[in-house]
């Protein structure tokens, strides 16, 4: 602040006024508040808020605050201001912030002082009060802002207080010099015409001196904005306005009456009408010209007055000075002395900051800029470090090749079309003529862009957006289709091509898929899908008709016809049959017309010439009977006209053999006949009975996935009753058959059905043994016995059912057994003995049989049978049941007899623990180093020879908690050498490191290119060339 040599206006008054201001405010809060309100409101209403607001913001923190000043000077400050605005709330909370800053800056804080003077001000608006110099100083001095109206203002002011950001490091700076005291608007300084040497006097000056003009301004402002004021001050605002105007008028009157600039003081402070003693006619000062007061300027000296002297001078420096002072000069003219006029000027002239602070601000701003610049190198740095991620995939490093090419790193990029066109300059006549033509026709890219812009401008924005969206969608769809086509085009498979071609042909003329059609239907409500389906159906039917779908048929018809000319009939019939079969299978797949038709089919398949009406079992039976009959007839005829046989065949043993064969055949025939007849009876019965649809098919061999269709399914109805009357089957005949059919002997003695009916045939000491051994085995055998014997359908069927059931139950039981069984050698042995009995007896029985059957054939059969049996037993044993299993278990038990595994393990672990346990070893050599004999004392050095071996305490062992585990605590010293303490740097996990070491690197294990890639250094340097620093940002 500029110090003037002039005496302050009122030395004694300075204190009195400040003191008196407080009661005056209190006495008429309504007026002052109104004034404030009007001041607050006038700014926005006159549209001058920009001006009135900005300087406030910047100056709010007190005159010497460096930060606010910097906002005038440095760009970087703007940012900070923003940040401080963000901390608005914080600042509001910290009402004393202003004081804090001021304290730091070493300046007497006005706010603080005012706080001492008037509590009201301090509490009410702690942060906005420190205006010593600013334009508002005058207003705000006695504006006591109503909280309602002034709140926004206060908060906005508090924004501009980034006090916390100031580093307190600088506190050694001496601020006692007056430089830091504040900066005063030059216009105001001139306005006042007086310079105070003390802060308090500035206050007082602003209190009284400037109020004269200010109040006038205020009045005019408030008068012009009456309505807005009324809006805010709705409570009795009009009354207040009245009184306010009145008061203003009175004040004006006083002003007019009193020449002195302090005239209004008396108006303001009614209580203290102590007029100061006047020693001179007018206030003196170096800027107060003599007699100036007689004009309308109240004796103030205008800047214009000073400037006028060199207005005409040609000196360029003076001209420059004039220029800078121009705004100030204009603001001081009384014609424009509204509250906003001087705000319109370029702002207050700031007193320079202390050098150090200014430096600090400059540094910060410069650093920010430099950082910004340096940030542009980031990409370069990344590349130079080899971290840009642009390296060859799978390469060990991103390689840096030095020296850098063309100074722009190792990256060269060709400019794209847009860049070219932007840069394009015509070089020859042709090019320039073309360009001029383009320009003439407004076809250059910029013109086109403009035209597009105008066209777009005329459209509805929503419409444009919709169109753009549509276009985008179309483009997207096209792109996808393109991608798909590309992908498909890559496929090389011939089969795919064939199918694809067919699919293409199959698709209708529209070439659209069903989904597409459905979509279209949904859009316009047509029935394209239905039509398409119909069309496809017809096409399919046509195809079926042409047999083209059957590759087999196709092949027959296409390829083989030529080569099989001679076998025409055969081929035809075969083809027909195949087609029929195909058709039938297709039907079945579709699930159409099962049941009778299928049976019919089978019947037809057997004999085509048979009548179609013969249905099912009846047909079969009849046919079989007919066949038999015809055979008998044939035989009889043959026997009748049998000529005398000669030769070997005529010999007696041959004849006997033939007869025996005949008898056998006869037996079979009669049996068959019998059974067929019985079947006939039962068929009649069975037809009455309900047949479940499932019973048509039969599971084969307990395999639920495999089903048998056809005759066996028809026979099922017969099988059930046959099981009900097992006795009716002659056992003798069965024995015959079984022996022939390689059935194991043990079953052949009884009928399979009977075994099923009475499962517990053997003596059982062990319940699970019996189940496992006998029942399953027997059933197994019965299976063998019956399979392949087509004549005994019924029994076979029944058997199957039973077997299936038993197998399931057996399996379950076996599982349970396995789960529960404990090997108890004694028990097993006993049961094994019990089982051994029948095992041994069986062969003897067979022997008897064998003796009965004298032929060698029988023995052969026996061998086979026994081998079969063995196989069976093996199987059983593997499944954990049966006798063999027990044998094995027994074997195992014997093999490990006396093995006390658990105890051994425990003992071993104990030994391990003991060995690792910490212990002391006595290394003393008896008789050495000490006296022996009677009465010899124990040596002092006894301790020396005891070595303590710090092992691992049993509780500290790794396996301390695991009873069934021994974890060795020994360390492999040799391996220790190769173990790492820490994971090496670039790796983040042990697995990574392991993997790295595991992948061998060398000519033996990788190809030369890979090896080269693995071993090539990360920085490649061209030898003998200077490597320059990088000079271009990538």
């Amino acid at each position: 602040m500029v110090r003037t040599g002039r005496q302050p206006r009122t030395q004694p008054q300075s204190t009195t006024t400040t003191k008196s201001s407080k009661p005056s405010k209190k006495s008429k809060p309504s007026t002052s508040s109104k004034k404030a309100a009007s001041a607050a409101l006038s700014a926005p209403s006159t549209g001058l808020d920009v001006y009135s607001y900005a300087p406030r913001k910047t100056k709010a923190r007190g005159d010497v605050d460096p930060e606010s000043r910097a906002s005038f000077q440095s760009k970087g400050k703007g940012k900070r201001q923003q940040a401080s605005e963000d901390e608005e709330e914080d600042d509001e909370l910290m009402g004393f912030r202003g004081g804090g800053i001021v304290e730091f800056t070493g300046v007497k804080p006005k706010g603080l002082k005012m706080g001492m003077d008037s509590d009201e001000e301090f509490v009410g608006e702690g942060d906005e009060d420190e205006e010593i110099d600013s334009d508002e100083a005058e207003e705000s001095e006695d504006d006591f802002k109503p909280k309602k109206g002034g709140k926004t203002k206060a908060s906005s002011r508090s924004n501009a207080q980034p006090s916390a950001e100031i580093d307190l490091d600088e506190d050694e700076i001496d601020f006692d010099d007056e430089q830091g005291e504040g900066f005063i608007d030059a216009s105001e300084m001139l306005d006042m015409g007086v310079y105070d040497s003390d802060d308090s006097e500035i206050d007082s000056g602003s209190d009284d001196g400037s109020d004269a003009s200010d109040d006038e301004e205020m009045a005019s402002a408030s008068a012009s904005d009456d309505d807005s004021e009324v809006d805010s001050e709705y409570e009795g605002a009009l009354d207040k306005l009245g009184s306010f105007v009145e008061q203003l008028e009175s004040r004006k009157r006083k002003n007019e009456g009193d020449d002195s600039p302090f005239g209004d003081d008396s108006g303001k402070k009614k209580k203290r009408v102590v007029l100061k003693e006047r020693t001179e006619a007018y206030p003196e000062g170096e800027f107060v010209a003599v007699g100036a007061h007689d004009g309308e300027d109240d004796g103030k000296l205008n800047l214009d007055d000073l400037l006028s002297s060199f207005a005409d001078s040609k000196n360029p420096r003076l001209a420059a000075l004039r220029k800078t002072l121009k705004p100030l000069a204009s603001s001081t003219t009384p014609s424009s002395s509204t509250s906003t006029s001087h705000l319109k000027s370029s702002g207050p002239l700031a007193a320079p900051l202390p050098g150090r602070l200014q430096d600090k601000i400059d540094r910060e701003a410069a650093y920010e800029k430099t950082k910004e610049e340096t940030d542009k190198w980031n990409e370069t740095v990344r590349r130079m470090k080899g971290e840009s991620g642009l390296g060859v995939e799978g390469a060990r490093h991103e390689r840096l090749t030095l020296p850098l090419m063309g100074g722009e790193g190792d990256v060269r990029r060709a400019p794209n079309a847009a860049e070219w066109s932007a840069k394009f300059q015509p070089t020859n006549a042709l090019e320039s003529s073309i360009q001029s033509l383009l320009h003439a026709g407004a076809m250059s890219s910029s013109d086109l862009r403009k035209a597009e812009a105008t066209a777009l401008a005329s459209l509805d924005p929503a419409d444009v957006a919709a169109r753009q969206a549509e276009l985008r969608q179309q483009r997207d769809l096209m792109y996808r289709a393109e991608r798909k086509a590309k992908r498909v085009a890559k496929i090389k498979s011939k089969a795919f091509r064939r199918i694809h071609r067919k699919a293409k042909g199959k698709e209708g003329d529209s070439g659209l898929s069903l989904e597409d059609l459905e979509e279209m239907d949904r859009m316009d409500g047509g029935d394209r899908v239905g039509e398409e389906q119909n069309r496809m159906e017809i096409q399919r039917a046509r195809e079926r008709a042409t047999l083209k779908h059957s590759s087999k048929g196709g092949r027959w018809s296409r390829t083989d016809i030529g080569g099989l000319e001679g076998l025409d009939d055969e081929r035809n019939s075969a083809v027909r049959e195949m087609v029929k079969r195909n058709e039938m299978l297709r039907k079945r797949i579709r699930g159409e017309q099962e049941g009778e038709e299928s049976a019919d089919e089978w019947a037809e398949g057997d004999s085509e010439d048979e009548l179609g009406e013969e249905v099912g079992v009846e047909g079969i039976r009849r046919r079989a009977m007919d066949e038999l009959k015809s055979l008998e007839d044939k035989e009889a005829a043959f026997a009748a006209n049998q000529p005398k046989v000669k030769g070997v065949v005529g010999m007696k043993f041959m004849q006997d053999a033939i007869k025996r064969g005949d008898r056998k055949a006869l037996l079979e025939a009669t049996e068959l006949q019998e059974r067929l007849e019985r079947m006939g009876e039962q068929a009649v019965k069975g037809l009455d009975e309900e047949e479940s649809p499932l019973s048509l098919s039969e599971q084969v061999q307990g395999n639920s996935g495999r089903r048998v269709f056809g005759p066996s399914s028809g026979n099922k109805s017969i099988a059930t009753p046959s099981s009900a009357e097992p006795a009716s089957l002659p056992s003798t005949s069965t024995t015959n058959h079984t022996t022939k059919l390689n059935a194991p002997l043990s079953i052949s003695t009884r009928s399979p059905l009977s075994t099923n009916a009475t499962p517990t045939s053997t003596d059982e000491s062990n319940p699970w043994l019996a189940d496992a051994a006998s029942a399953s085995k027997l059933s197994r055998k019965s299976n063998k016995a019956t399979v392949g014997k087509d004549s005994r359908d019924a029994s076979r069927l029944a058997d199957k059912v039973a077997r299936h059931k038993s197998r399931q139950s057996d399996a379950r039981e076996a599982e349970q057994d396995d789960a529960t069984v404990d090997i108890d050698p004694s028990n097993v042995l006993a049961s094994a003995k019990a089982k051994a009995q029948p095992q041994i007896t069986a062969p003897s029985k067979e022997k008897k049989k064998g003796a009965a059957g004298p032929t060698t054939k029988a023995t052969m059969e026996e061998d086979e049978r026994s081998s079969d049996e063995d196989d069976e037993e093996q199987h059983e044993a593997q499944r954990g049941r049966g006798q063999l299993a027990f044998k094995q278990r027994e074997l195992v038990a014997r093999a490990f007899a006396g093995d006390n595994v658990v105890a051994d393990f425990e003992a071993e672990k104990r030994r391990e623990i003991e060995r690792d346990a910490p212990r002391e070893e006595d290394n003393t050599l008896p008789g050495w180093g000490s006296w022996g004999g009677k009465g010899a004392k124990k040596s002092k050095h006894a301790k020396k020879f005891i070595t303590k071996i710090p092992g691992i305490a049993p509780s500290a062992r790794q396996d301390a908690t695991f009873t069934n585990v021994i974890i060795s605590e020994k360390k492999d010293k040799k391996a220790q050498k190769y173990l790492l303490k820490d994971l090496p740097f670039p790796y983040t996990s042990a697995a990574q490191h392991e993997h790295k070491l595991r992948t061998p690197m060398g000519p033996e294990w990788s190809t030369s290119t890979i090896l080269r890639d693995q071993t090539l250094p990360s920085v490649l340097i061209k030898p003998g060339v200077t490597i320059r620093p990088v000079d271009k940002k990538v």
Binding site: Y367, K369, L980, P1000, T1007, T1026, D1031
Partner: protein, 510 residues
């Protein structure tokens, strides 16, 4: 139709040229190579041993100076084998490394110690001139050199000069014909290297300062240079008074006896300067704003600082506290890495032109080679006769390292101790690369790690290391105790140990 036939081409089994080996076909199935790992490990051990066996880093020592070498510079404008050095007796020499001899010298260049030397730029039109590319996005203020001795020709001439600018083919560079030297005698002198040599050579230009100069650094493109005395001064080569003076506090006059120890231009972000002061600060400046940017006070003074040539924001500092530090100049509040190993003050450091390695010379009579980002030295060089190393440097092809020490010798070392000098066969090179690959891969395991790590150092250095370790341990222990037995009322945050990367930093000022 493709028919598979048995086909044996001789070409598959014969070498492609007479010099190459016959191709060997191998089955790469890992199952057939059950001992791949042990074999590889053995090879790695062998490679590490071979590396140690062949590591003979010392190439030559160049004699000529009558006193210790305290400054050294390389010719960045292109002379690969040319370097200059200044000694304690005021002599400046220019050396040719390829011929291993002194090309030019001037005795008594300065009265007293030559504290800094720097090559100037070839002038516009001169051979070896390197220009910044125009249109690189950066607005460079072009400063045209007028002929020396000419006191300002006028604008027209300068504009004509601009048209003569051309990009110089770097491979043909012979280097700059002029050299700047600064000394404690308060002068900076510009010398013509191509001219007369000996005792009575007159400098082209003398620039007088107010106090002794400690360091000099030349701008990469423009004919301006910065000197360090009580403040940083920026000079134009054609003007005898400084263009500007840079200080941290523009108001201070640094009368307290503090001085700037070292100054360095950033070669890529060319307007940025860094300096270190005897007041233990490292400070950044920007010529564009003409202001200091910020500074950081460290616990000990920084003897030399260098910007990374390929990573412009990276700054390397050789500190008096036996360590080296790298900074990112955008965040001086923390170092990016601490490099520990020296047992004496680190007097000098220099980046390899690859920007990934650097060399440091120390008061402990060793030179150490470092990889950026790794806290321990890759290698340590020493000889029996080498005294305190005051200056060290990488050559511009990144193959050699130079050191200037108190014993008045300039020594040439290999940057890679195991490298073979001379022509290396391609196959030999490939084998070497394979061995290096193995060493790197297995470098952390077993014997390879030991071989890679272990260096036998002179007894005094070894003892110093042991002592240093003891001291550090003791200090750490003390700190721990202090923390453990701190009284209850003490703020625990104050007891927290400082992060190692920030430990060297005392204060950051903006």
């Amino acid at each position: 139709m493709k028919i598979k036939t048995l086909h044996r081409s001789l070409e598959d089994h014969l070498p492609t040229s007479s010099s190459s080996t016959a191709p060997i076909s191998r089955n790469l199935d890992p199952a057939l190579h059950p001992f791949a790992r042990p074999r590889e490990y053995t090879r790695a051990v062998a490679a590490a041993k071979l590396e140690r066996m062949f590591s003979k880093p010392f190439v030559d020592s160049l004699e000529g100076h009558g006193d210790g070498l305290y400054s050294m510079t390389k010719d960045e404008s292109g002379g690969l084998s040319r370097i200059a050095s200044g000694s304690g007796d005021g002599e400046v020499r220019v050396w040719d490394l390829a011929q291993r001899k002194s090309l030019w010298n001037v005795q008594g260049a300065h009265r007293g110690m030559v504290k800094g030397v720097a090559f100037s730029h070839p002038a516009a039109g001169e051979e070896g001139r390197v220009e910044k590319k125009i249109g690189s996005g950066e607005k460079s203020l072009k400063r045209k050199r007028t002929a020396l001795g000419d006191k300002g020709k006028g604008r027209q001439d300068e504009e004509e000069d601009e048209e003569e600018d051309f990009d110089y083919d770097t491979t043909l560079a012979r280097g700059s014909p002029r050299i700047l030297s600064c000394g404690v005698d308060k002068t900076v002198k510009l010398w013509d290297v191509t001219g007369a040599k000996g005792a009575n050579v007159k400098p082209l230009q003398t620039y007088a300062g107010k106090s002794g100069f400690n360091s000099i650094s030349h701008h990469r493109y423009d004919p301006i240079f910065a000197t360090a005395s009580t403040s940083i001064e920026i000079w134009d080569e054609t003007k005898t008074s400084p263009l500007s003076t840079l200080k941290f506090h523009s108001t201070s006059n640094l009368s307290s006896g503090e001085h700037i120890v070292n100054v360095a231009f950033n070669k890529s972000e060319t307007s940025v300067l860094a300096s270190s002061g005897s007041d233990r600060t490292v400070c950044l400046y920007d010529l564009r704003s003409g202001k200091a940017l910020g500074r950081v006070s460290m616990n000990m003074r920084v003897n030399q600082l260098v910007f990374n040539p390929l990573q412009p924001p990276v700054l390397l500092c050789a500190s008096e506290d036996h360590n080296l530090y790298t900074f990112d100049m955008r965040n001086m509040a923390t170092t990016t890495q601490v490099y520990k190993g020296h047992v004496g003050a680190v007097m000098s450091c220099d980046w390899a032109p690859t920007g990934r390695e650097f060399v440091s010379g120390s008061y402990d009579r060793t030179i150490r080679l470092w990889t950026a980002g790794e806290g321990k030295a890759r290698d340590t060089y020493h000889t029996k006769r080498m005294q305190r190393v005051f200056t060290s440097m990488y050559t511009l092809d990144s193959r050699f390292v130079l050191s200037g020490s108190d014993d008045s010798n300039l020594r040439i070392w290999k940057a890679r101790a195991g490298d073979k000098l001379g022509v290396v066969d391609k196959r030999e090179m490939a084998r070497k690369e394979y061995r290096d690959g193995l060493r790197e891969k297995w470098g952390t395991v077993g014997d390879v790690a030991k071989l890679e790590r272990q260096r036998f150092l002179p007894k005094d250095i070894h003892n110093a290391e042991t002592l240093r370790r003891t001291m550090l341990d003791a200090r750490n222990k003390k700190e721990e105790n202090r923390r453990a037995h701190a009284p209850k009322g003490v703020d625990p945050s104050k007891l927290k140990p400082k992060a190692a990367k920030k430990a060297a930093i005392a204060r950051v000022e903006s």
